[in-house]
Each structure stands twice: as structure tokens, then as C-alpha cells.
């Protein structure tokens, strides 16, 4: 699992690549902490190269959402494959995030 962080057009963007499973979650959790300093900037989670997301991965996204909302930052998820989008749908999480 690999993440890359960039600031693009005033947005905080993180690219995810590989499998975000239970084994990868602790390291990814640390890497995502940089997004917690969002302070009103929008966050984009680019999942174009994400192959798999487990419950642990969903929890990381939800934790980020909990931090970002009070700071008036939007969390956008982009590039989700149909399979991964279905994971969000069947767990009822699609309407918590904004998809691009």
C-alpha cells in the first residue's frame, strides 16, 4: 500500500495505491494525519489506483471525515472503481462522503 500527499489548487490531495487492508491500515493512518490539518481546505482522496478497501480502510476515511467536518473541510473521494464504490454503498457510507 502506498500513499502520496500533494497540495493542489489549495486542496489537500492524497493518492492511494494498492490494497488498503487491515495490515496496511496502521501505516496509512499515520500517513493520513497530514490531512488532519485541513482548516477549511478541501481534501481529495484519489482512489484511482486503490485495488481494495477493508473495514479498517473505511474506518480511516471515517476518522478523517470526523476531523474535517468541524473544520468546514469537504472530503471528496475520486476515482473509485465500481467494486469499491459498491463497498461504500452496501455499508451505507456513500452519502457520508462526496464523490467526484
Amino acid at each position: 500500500m502506498k500513499t502520496t500527499f500533494q497540495k493542489e489548487d489549495n486542496n489537500l490531495v492524497m493518492y492511494f495505491e494498492g490494497r488498503l487492508d487491515t495490515a496496511a491500515a496502521p501505516k496509512t493512518d499515520q500517513e493520513m494525519k497530514v490531512l488532519y490539518d485541513c482548516d477549511g481546505h478541501d481534501i481529495v482522496l484519489d482512489c484511482t489506483k486503490l485495488d481494495y478497501i477493508s473495514s479498517s480502510g473505511l474506518r480511516l476515511f471515517l476518522s478523517l471525515l470526523k476531523v474535517a467536518k468541524p473544520k468546514r473541510s469537504h472530503v471528496y473521494i475520486t476515482g473509485l472503481s465500481d467494486d469499491l464504490r459498491q463497498v461504500f454503498a452496501m455499508t451505507g457510507f456513500t452519502n457520508l462522503f462526496e464523490f467526484k
Partner: protein, 358 residues
């Protein structure tokens, strides 16, 4: 550049030396007020606070410097303005202020009561206060309390400058009067509306609690009250048990347009919708989740599956399923593939055997 008298210069020097104390007091009162209003559940439009600028004080001293014997006679060096949404809350906030601080009644004024029948203008409550104790209790500060509409009136009045040297012709004064009257009326009506809405909510809550759901039309307020009964909790727990999942809290209000689209008109209709479709919603969720190890679910999951199961049982089309997802997720091209996946899942479920893929 202001020309100050020697006495004015002395006051100005005292002011400069006192700025750190003024700033401290200003921040302290702001924090106190913010906290107390929050604790009392009073929603405010804003609390503004400022220490009078040197430029503004110089203007004041130049105009009427002789009036002030000491700096303490100038009561608005520290000023705060509490802007409420409703006119009822002005009095409520004033009562709270009265308990928090020592109010100098001789110098405080309720400008709302000063209006003559023929006058125009629309003013607020001005209190001159002091802290009850502590090192800053010697400094007076001014507290203005007004509604958002009074605030808007005051800002526009200031911008137009009708209080300036030029006396306005009667036709314009009349225009001001009409507007002031209209705003006062609007303030009163907003307060009345709030009271009416509160009464309505109480009635709805009473009907919901007593189980008279057929008497309650489906609306934003009534649905919110209904949700307090946790009508989907049992279904959510059943679904969560599939993978021993944790249920993550979420708002269910986004489902209201879908329920209205299903022509559910009362909370009784919603309850029957739940009772009639809960088993099938569970089966639909089971068919999706059992083959995964997903152990975190949103609180939406029960109601979402209820809606999908309902559409499927009605012989629902792909478009109807897309409609559900569009309402929940916003319009997105991928909602079509979600709909296709549901139709595929549903093909193996007995309750949905009437489904026709378009």
C-alpha cells in the same frame, strides 16, 4: 488630524496605557458571553467585540472632551454587541447579562422604549456594565443587544447617513418610518413563527410518543421526531449481526424525499412501510454483506435496504433504484452501476422475482 485640548491629551495618554487591560477585558467578556449563551442554548447570529480605536476616541474627545472628567466616564472604550435571531431573545439575553455583570442603570438605556409614535428608527438595548469582581472590575464596558434585523437596519441607516447634518425631507422620513415599521413587524412575526413551530413540534412529539402515528403528516419535523423512536435500530442490529459489525451514526434525514416519493403521507404509513419490508430488507442486506468481512456499517444501512427492497417488490425499474441512489449520494454516473449490482443481487431473492431489468 484631531486637535485635542490639554485635558483631552491627558485622557488619550491614559487610554494608550490602558489598552492592554481593555483588550484583556474585551476578550474575557466575549469568552464569558459565548460560553453562557451556548450553555443556555441561545442561538446567536453573532457576538461582536472591540476596543475603541485611538482615532475614534480622538474624534469623541474633540467633539465632547469636556464632558468626561476621567477615562472611566467614557463607557464605550470596550464594547460588545450580541446579535440575536429573535426579538424574544433580546430580553432573555438582557436578563442573563444582568445576572453576570453589574449594570449601571443610570447610564444604560433601552432605546426600543424611547420611540415616539411619530419617530422613526429601530434601536437596540444598551447596557453599561462592569465585571462583578476581579482586577478589571473598575473598567466599564458597553453591551448592545439587538436582533439581526435591528442590526441590518442600523447598518443601512449608518450607510445612508440619515442622522447626518442634512435634515431629510418628509417624504424620505416617511420612507424610513415605513421600513422601520416593516422590520419591527417582521421581527415580531419571526418570533411568533418560532413559538408556533415549537408548539407544533411539541404536538407532533406527543402524538409520536403516544403511538398515534396515523395522525401525523410526514414532514421534516415529524420525521425527525419519529427518528427519536429509533425505528430502524432493530433492523440495523439484525444486519450488523451478519458480520458482528459496528454501527456508525449517521443522519437519516436524506431519506425523507425518497419516502415522500413512495407516497408515504403519514408516520403511520412509514411505520407500515418498515413493518412490511423489514424482513426483505434484511435478506437483501444479507445477500450483499454475508460474502464480505465488512464489520463497520452506517446507521443508514437498514433504511437504505428498506427503500431498495420496497422498490424491488414494487417490480421496480432500474430507474427507480437509480433514483434512490441519486437522492442518497447525489447524481453520479456510477449510481447506474450500483443499481445494476442490486438488480443482479435481487435476481436470486424470492421477494424480488418480479424485477424486470430495463
Amino acid at each position: 488630524m484631531n486637535q485635542l485640548s490639554p485635558h483631552g491629551e491627558v485622557l488619550m495618554e491614559q487610554y494608550r496605557e490602558s489598552i492592554p487591560r481593555f483588550t484583556q477585558l474585551c476578550g474575557q467578556v466575549y469568552d464569558q458571553l459565548s460560553q453562557v449563551m451556548r450553555e443556555q442554548g441561545i442561538e446567536l447570529n453573532a457576538i461582536e467585540h472591540r476596543v475603541k480605536t485611538e482615532e475614534s476616541l480622538a474624534g469623541k474627545l474633540e467633539r465632547k472632551g469636556d464632558k468626561y472628567r476621567t477615562l472611566a466616564d467614557i463607557t464605550d472604550l470596550v464594547g460588545l454587541r450580541i446579535i440575536t435571531f429573535y426579538t424574544d431573545d433580546v430580553d432573555k439575553v438582557a436578563a442573563i447579562v444582568n445576572t453576570l455583570y453589574v449594570v449601571d442603570w443610570d447610564n444604560s438605556v433601552d432605546k426600543r422604549k424611547l420611540h415616539q409614535l411619530t419617530s422613526f428608527g429601530y434601536n437596540s438595548l444598551h447596557y453599561i456594565c462592569r465585571q462583578k469582581e476581579g482586577p478589571l472590575s473598575d473598567i466599564p464596558f458597553e453591551l448592545q443587544i439587538r436582533t439581526a434585523l435591528q442590526h441590518a437596519w442600523s447598518a443601512i441607516e449608518h450607510d445612508i447617513g440619515y442622522k447626518g447634518a442634512v435634515k431629510l425631507p418628509p417624504q424620505y422620513r416617511r420612507q424610513f418610518s415605513r421600513l422601520a415599521g416593516m422590520l419591527e413587524l417582521a421581527d415580531d412575526e419571526f418570533s411568533r413563527l418560532r413559538t408556533t413551530m415549537t408548539d407544533y413540534r411539541r404536538q407532533v412529539q406527543t402524538l409520536v410518543k403516544s403511538g398515534q402515528l396515523d395522525e401525523v403528516p410526514l414532514s421534516t419535523d415529524s420525521f425527525r421526531s419519529y427518528l427519536e423512536l429509533h425505528p430502524f435500530e432493530r433492523l440495523n442490529q439484525r444486519i450488523a449481526a451478519v458480520n458482528q459489525a459496528e454501527v456508525f451514526p449517521a443522519s437519516l434525514m436524506s431519506f425523507l424525499p425518497i419516502l415522500e416519493h413512495f407516497h408515504l403521507e403519514t408516520l403511520g404509513d412509514v411505520q407500515r412501510f418498515v413493518d412490511d419490508n423489514a424482513d426483505d430488507a434484511y435478506r437483501l442486506a444479507l445477500s450483499q454483506l454475508a460474502i464480505t468481512d465488512l464489520d463497520i456499517l452506517s446507521e443508514n444501512v437498514g433504511l437504505q435496504n428498506l427503500c431498495l427492497a420496497y422498490v424491488l417488490k414494487q417490480g421496480g425499474s432500474r430507474d427507480e433504484i437509480i433514483f434512490v441512489y441519486d437522492q442518497l449520494n447525489g447524481r453520479h454516473a456510477s449510481n447506474a452501476s450500483l443499481a445494476d449490482a442490486i438488480l443482479q443481487q435481487a435476481a436470486s431473492l424470492p421477494f424480488a422475482n418480479k424485477v424486470t431489468q430495463q
